[in-house]
Symmetry: C2
Subunit: 372 residues, 2 copies
């Protein structure tokens, strides 16, 4: 089948896996994650990126959309993993002389379409609550000038919405619209708390929404009503978010959780085939690469995974589509081909030294915790 | 860690995996599953049981509580798999001269405490909607006479409750109480729709409730409020239900889904450790075998699983308990020991010929579908 497209993640965060669990988003960010991120080095992000990319490959993901910093390290890791990626620099208001925006443009000028065309660069205005209108307008201007897509967090929590309405008298979606963000090709992660008017705006500008079921549940952010979004004609893709808030990067887990929870009130919601599309072709549409990948079709690039069905959990084989969504185990993926190149061969990494990556990731996190 | 205890399943149903998905419980039972079950043979149940037990072993389950028919075939399969099990014959009203009850007693007299003490026999009055009060009273009498525990379905759907109130003017819990069922040691599967009064009754009689998150979501039955049940002092265990409504038998998936969905409103709900207890020691309490198994303690029997942590999804290792609940992949289980005997050795079955089991399961289902 086509490889999975993880349309929202932060691969540089995998060192924080299981570091802080069972707390709310704002507590988690302010008191746990951000203090640790202040001490993160380029090298840490390099090993975290390789670690994440290993985990994604072994669970069948061939492409991901990332937002973080030290993204040149993530791109360096991509040289080894050979994955396809859309990379954005997280842009937040603590940005003297717009140095972060310049860094993001610099990434574009250096790496757009590099590594045999596997790399695309997007702008990453983090969220409404970490930016302001002037900053967003500036980003929108840059986006138009360079024709760069945009990757944002949108209405992830109710608090984000409430604060935004207090601050601007508008929803996050309305703020982004006013600042011209949606006039550019945009991926909006989460979208858990969207009004009907928000959905109309997103639909009008053809913004893709990315569902991150595990992360949203784990941080008590809520659960996106997928059927409502799809019925508005909006392209709905799927993501794992980071392994700090999930706490893994397996799209197969997201597929099963998204489908099961969506059936809460109606078993016909998010059928097996719908949820597989979210995890593949809809991701390609979100990233603007659906002419190249996201499905197995003549003329498309070979981003292909082979799933082993010769195991008890796939026996008997009554319905392949149901089987993939409801019965597949995370590591049933046996072979992964990206851009025509075999990168995972009978459950062995072709290009990655996985023992070295794990060793250095552990070492990096030990050092990070000791660092003042 | 201690092996998982799957406290509610129907191992004889695994041939129906992925046969009918994305429909509601009553439609699924009446129009899909029951017509197929009418054609099921003893041999089919034998292969289905072995298939299920293989899948459970490879995902770390060492004990299960089963309700189905042709249970002598499931017990025969247990001779090969060496799993620990509590077996009950599903008892429903189409039971001329109480032949089914007699069959259940027969199982008890033949197999109770057999296979080195790994087998216990329970009575299986299926549910309120498939029995009546006289039948339930008779089963309660038998339970007392032989000191046999009881395994039931309870308030799985809202329709079950509504119909019961129409029929008896009582909730299913009230009906079971009136018929004396709860005076015996009882496992109640599902319990999705329980009133405060129901919970008080279950608490008073020390009835264990078994949460089956995937099955309940998939059939749109609802989602059990685990925290509410636990706060009433009720022992809450975990089950997969059958692979026909799940569609797999991995307790690791249930652990992750139960914990994530319970956090919907509060991230402190069902923390990593709470959910691991549900899947182990609480299951042992439900089955009345917590003096023998369910935790790793001196003097207990060796029902032990070894989980491989040397992989990207467990790196770095910040918190073992969180890691087990949120980051473990279904097939990270490398070794399984049941009753002191190694049954799964570095991901290879010691006693089971898995290729033969899969081949015969496929064949059995092909023949079943062709059968008039």
């Amino acid at each position: 089948m086509p490889g999975f497209i993880n349309a929202h993640t932060h691969v540089g965060m995998s060192l924080f896996r299981n570091y802080s669990d069972d707390v709310e988003l704002m507590d988690w960010l302010n008191n746990k994650i951000w203090p640790l991120e202040d001490k993160l080095t380029e090298k840490d992000v390099y090993w975290a990126s390789l670690l994440s990319q290993s985990e994604m490959i072994m669970t069948g993901t061939t492409t991901f959309a990332d937002m973080y910093y030290y993204e040149d390290q993530t791109i360096k890791a991509l040289e080894k993993s050979k994955m396809r990626a859309q990379i954005s620099r997280g842009l937040t208001l603590e940005d003297e002389n717009y140095l972060k925006i310049k860094e993001n443009i610099d990434l574009y000028q250096k790496y757009e379409n590099s590594q045999d065309g596997r790399i695309n660069i997007a702008l990453g205005p983090h969220a409404v609550y970490t930016t302001d209108k002037n900053y967003l307008k500036e980003i929108s201007k840059v986006s138009k000038k360079y024709n760069m897509p945009i990757h944002i967090h949108l209405s992830e929590t109710k608090i984000e919405n409430d604060d935004c309405i207090k601050r601007f008298g508008q929803s996050p979606t309305e703020v982004f619209e006013e600042c011209g963000i949606f006039e550019n090709k945009t991926i909006a992660a989460h979208g858990v708390h969207l009004s009907d008017r928000d959905l109309e705006i997103l639909s009008k500008y053809d913004v893709s929404v990315v569902h991150n079921p595990s992360s949203n549940l784990k941080l008590s952010s809520g659960f996106l009503d997928c059927t409502r979004v799809i019925n508005k004609g909006i392209n709905l893709a799927m993501g794992t978010d980071s392994s700090a808030s999930n706490n893994n990067l397996s799209m197969l887990k997201e597929i099963s959780i998204a489908s099961l929870v969506s059936k809460y009130k109606d078993p016909k919601n998010l059928r097996a085939y719908d949820v597989l599309k979210m995890a593949t072709i809809n991701g390609a549409k979100a990233l603007g690469i659906d002419k190249e990948t996201g499905s197995l079709e003549e003329g498309k690039l070979a981003d292909i995974i082979l799933i082993d069905l010769n195991n008890p959990n796939h026996t008997p084989q009554n319905n392949l589509i149901s089987s993939l969504s409801y019965s597949t185990f995370d590591t049933d993926v046996s072979y992964v081909i990206i851009n025509g190149e075999l990168v995972y061969d009978n459950k062995k990494f072709v290009n990655l030294d996985i023992e070295e990556i794990m060793k250095n990731s552990k070492l990096a996190f030990d050092n990070l915790r000791k660092r003042k």
